[in-house]
């Protein structure tokens, strides 16, 4: 497992280099590697089905007790097969879909990074590791949605998906940590075998709600579903892979994974059933009137994700249909997206009304699409049929009408979407529909193969049965009784219901040209506008919009306040804050100056003269009416100060002060050429304010220096340094040894700041130059 992760990860990082050299052929390599891992995982099937889990561990952060531990059981194997299998087909598809795209290397890095981290997510046994992978999938999804970064909408939607899923991810992190803390283990396998506390602690309830929030945002549950249709800005292979078959099921995976721990929590069933049904219904209702092929499929994905959450909410009884629907949906929805992408690629159109007649003009494409529709609509003998029958059987036999009816409605919606996919094939061809060149092998292998697998799945029930049993074992946390799976149940109520769903969905699809305009009037067929109308006014996405605009307004206000670009304001704020902080900390420290002050011991004429020069030149600097006078006075001040340093035993300081002052004067002289006329701009009140501030700062610093001077250190650091300077650091100049050895880290920071300042000056002057030219 670790090897397959490492292999995919390496390929992701080699992609910028390799893809630039291999061009299109890199896609075949990626498909090969991904397909290879698929085969490896497929070979593990007998072991896992036999109940033997596979574990791998590598120490990672031993001090924190975190390990790189991976585990393969039924649930993770199913996901791993979907991720690597569909990953291989998508890689193949990209070859044709993004033919000769100039930014292909970047695309491959993001896509392979996603595949690696998604695989890591489902294999991780340590919850910290799981979280890291979880967030990384969000990040790679961000790059993939925003791949066409020249489009503002792609950028905005990428950001939206990132913010929604990462915000949920933060909640998830807290939830997982709470759960681990409460149960006393960071290992999923230990958490799962522990079972849940009865009765549950309040903290477990909080953890459950936070984890649910994380899962709901990732898996696009109501009211967070809006990011998923918007994510359709991504290239279609990405939509097929991330936003229908794999990443959006991460939340579902987590809920299934934690079912043994949290499933018996009293809130589990009500919250998952409600969330699932709401999402399933919302997605189905919003899907039907869509005109854009990808948005149509996206909303039906939302509906399917809701259905999956609903099935998990049913508890143990729902696990078998859950596992079946999970696999079937990944196959047919991935296939449907790939087929839709192929249609778009050859016709350069994506809206349902603008397409038609493909069964005559592009028969192979139509055949692949038709195959996928068979599975999506749940017609026998496909896997779609088997999974839908399993759900309906459970529903008809055990559910109350209150739950059954919305579920059936959601199914009608999802089936309608399947039928609508036939429109591009069968509808009357529009006048101007031309087919463009296409890399048919690459574009059609994916949908064909996914459709065929789903078709064959209906016949190959034996391996499927054992895989489902292994999933049930993971989700229920116990070995299940033998799984019953049959293609043909005879004429049952479920079959009748299924037929009813197919028929009514067919009817809705037939009158779709009348439904779509209603959707237009309600403003649900287009992305949410700046000023929403119709149903758009009620869209949960508006919550996101207003939250974001609030953030922007806050950023605006605080930037104006704190980062307004006026140096004088910055200096005022810094000085005032420093005064305040020093006063507060001095008052809290309880330091005092001994009264009366001891008499000054060393006062000679030179000191007095130097102090006098300092005082006079500071006044001259402030009152100067010419710039050169101000600079000269400042220089005089600096040199006098340096002399004082030299006289009181700080030659290093004095030397540096002299040099800095010299260079400052030099720099100022150069800068004169660029400065405007020296004018007095401040009003008298402003000058008084500045004078007060400056005096206050001087007084505070003076008092502070005195306080420090009279403070008796219990143990003097300077004597320690003086002792160690020769012993440990082989030097005699304490000041320099402190700079380059004892406190070298500080110096490293300082020279970095110095370098940045130089860069800043260069950049600012370059901007000025550009403005003048």
């Amino acid at each position: 497992m670790g090897v397959s992760l490492a292999l995919l990860g390496l390929l992701a990082f080699a992609a910028p280099w390799l893809a630039a050299r291999l061009q299109q052929r890199f896609g075949y390599l990626a498909a090969l590697v991904s397909g290879g891992t698929f085969v490896w995982f497929a070979l593990q099937l007998p072991h896992v089905v036999g109940g033997a889990e596979r574990l791998e561990e590598l120490p990672w952060l031993p001090t924190l007790g975190t390990t790189l531990s991976l585990r393969l059981d039924g649930l993770s194997l199913t996901f791993a097969l979907l991720i690597t299998g569909i990953g291989a087909l998508v890689a193949l598809y990209v070859v044709g879909y993004l033919e000769n795209h100039p930014r292909l290397p970047r695309f491959w890095t993001s896509l392979l990074l996603f595949e690696t981290t998604m695989l890591g997510l489902v294999l991780a046994d340590d919850i910290v590791l799981l979280f890291v992978f979880w967030e990384l999938t969000s990040v790679s999804s961000f790059f993939l949605i925003g791949f066409a970064d020249e489009r503002p909408r792609a950028r905005a939607n990428a950001q939206q998906a990132l913010i929604v899923t990462v915000a949920g991810g933060l909640a998830l992190l807290v939830g997982l940590l709470l759960l681990a803390q409460q149960q006393g283990s960071f290992r999923l396998r230990e958490l799962v075998t522990m079972g849940s506390l009865q009765p549950p602690e309040t903290l477990i309830t909080v953890a459950f709600l936070l984890i649910l929030l994380g899962a709901a945002t990732k898996s696009a549950q109501f009211p967070f579903h809006f990011w998923l249709p918007n994510a359709m800005e991504a290239p279609t292979p990405v939509s097929a892979y991330l936003h229908s078959a794999t990443m959006v099921k991460a939340g579902i995976y987590l809920l299934a994974r934690l079912h043994p721990v949290l499933g018996s929590h009293p809130w589990w069933q009500p919250s998952l059933l409600t969330l699932g049904l709401l999402t399933a219904l919302t997605g189905a209702a919003l899907a039907i009137p869509q005109r854009d092929l990808k948005r149509l499929l996206a909303y039906s994905t939302v509906s399917a994700l809701g259905t999956l959450v609903f099935l998990l909410g049913l508890g143990d009884a729902g696990v078998k249909p859950f596992a079946l629907f999970l696999i079937a949906h990944a196959l047919y929805k991935g296939g449907a997206f790939l087929a839709a992408g192929a249609i778009e690629h050859v016709t350069e159109r994506r809206t349902l009304d603008a397409l038609g007649g493909l069964w005559r003009t592009a028969p192979v494409l139509a055949g692949a699409t038709g195959l996928v529709v068979l599975v999506a609509a749940g017609l026998p003998p496909t896997l779609g049929f088997v999974s839908k029958e399993a759900i309906l059987e459970l529903g008809v036999e055990t559910l109350s009408p209150l739950l059954l009816l919305p579920l059936l409605l959601a199914f009608v919606g999802q089936t309608t979407v399947a039928w609508l996919l036939l429109r591009p094939l069968l509808a009357r061809p529009p006048e101007s529909l031309h087919l463009h060149h296409a890399h048919w092998f690459s574009l059609l292998t994916g949908p064909m193969l996914l459709g065929l697998i789903a078709l064959g799945g209906g016949f190959a029930l034996d391996p499927l049965r054992s895989l489902i049993a292994a999933v049930i074992a993971s989700v229920q946390g116990a070995t299940p009784p033998p799984v019953k799976l049959t293609l043909w149940h005879g004429f049952t109520v479920a079959l009748g219901t299924s037929g009813f769903i197919l028929l009514s969905a067919g009817l809705i699809a037939a009158v779709w040209p009348r439904i779509a305009p209603v959707g237009d009037r309600l403003a649900i067929t287009e992305p949410l506008a700046e000023r929403p109308r119709g149903l758009g006014r009620l869209a949960p996405e508006r919550g996101y919009q207003s939250l974001m605009s609030m953030v922007l307004r806050f950023a605006d206000v605080q930037t104006r306040l704190l980062q307004n670009g006026y140096l004088r304001v910055y200096v005022t704020v810094i000085v005032a804050t420093a005064i305040l902080l020093i006063i507060v900390s001095v008052l809290r420290s309880g330091l005092t100056i001994p009264a009366p002050l001891p008499p000054l011991t060393i006062v000679d004429l030179l000191d007095a003269v130097l102090v006098l020069i300092i005082i006079v030149s500071s006044f001259v600097t402030v009152r100067a009416t010419e710039r050169l006078v101000a600079v000269a006075a400042l220089g005089a001040l600096g040199f006098s100060l340096a002399l004082l340093y030299a006289r009181y035993g700080a030659p290093d300081l004095a030397l540096t002060q002299v040099l800095v002052d010299t260079l400052t004067v030099v720099l100022l002289v150069f800068a004169f050429y660029r400065l405007p006329r020296y004018a007095q701009l401040s009003s008298t009140p402003a000058r008084i304010r500045d004078a007060v501030l400056a005096t206050a700062f001087g007084v505070v610093m003076g008092v502070f220096a005195l306080l420090v001077h009279f403070f008796r250190y219990p143990e003097r650091i300077s004597s320690y340094f003086a002792e160690q300077v020769y012993e440990a650091a082989h030097g005699r100049n304490v000041v320099n040894v402190i700079l380059v050895d004892f406190r070298a880290l500080d110096t490293l920071g300082e020279i970095t700041v110095l370098g940045l300042a130089a860069l800043g000056v260069a950049a600012l002057l370059a901007v000025g130059k550009g403005a003048r030219d």
Binding site: P651, D652, L655, T656, L659, V660, T662, L663, V666, L667, F670, A671, Y673, R674, A728, A729, H730, G731, R732, N733, V735, N736, V737, L739, V740, D741, A744, L745, T747, L748, I751, T752, L754, G755, A757, A758, L759, V761, A762, L765, A766, K769
Partner: protein, 140 residues
Amino acid sequence: MTALPSLILRTAVRWISPLLLLFSLFLLLRGHYEPGGGFSGGLIAATGFALLTFGYSLNTARRLLRVPPITLVAVGIGLSLATGILALITGKPFLTGLWVKVPLAGTVTLELGTPLLFDVGVYLTVIGATLTMLFEFAEE
């Protein structure tokens, strides 16, 4: 900025600038025992180039420096960082000083340590940063 027309300044600079550079190296090397070090050494060296800019021209100073000053900043910070990482590699905390004794003639040994390398990094950064600013200002 065009060269100042003072012959005296030019003649003086011709002698003083190299001396200042030499002095800056002296300060850098003696820093461990006597007043000096990378910071003041770097400032002295920068002064040398500042004088060249005054006495001759910006182009002369740039040409004599040979590399863009910002490169010196990068090399300097990189060097200081590298001495820290060197300590990490030997298993000591970041930036720990490492010393070797090089036996010279007789009983005299020379002790060489990474703090000197670190100080060279400081020296280069200070020259680079100061001259980046100076040259940018001096550009007309």
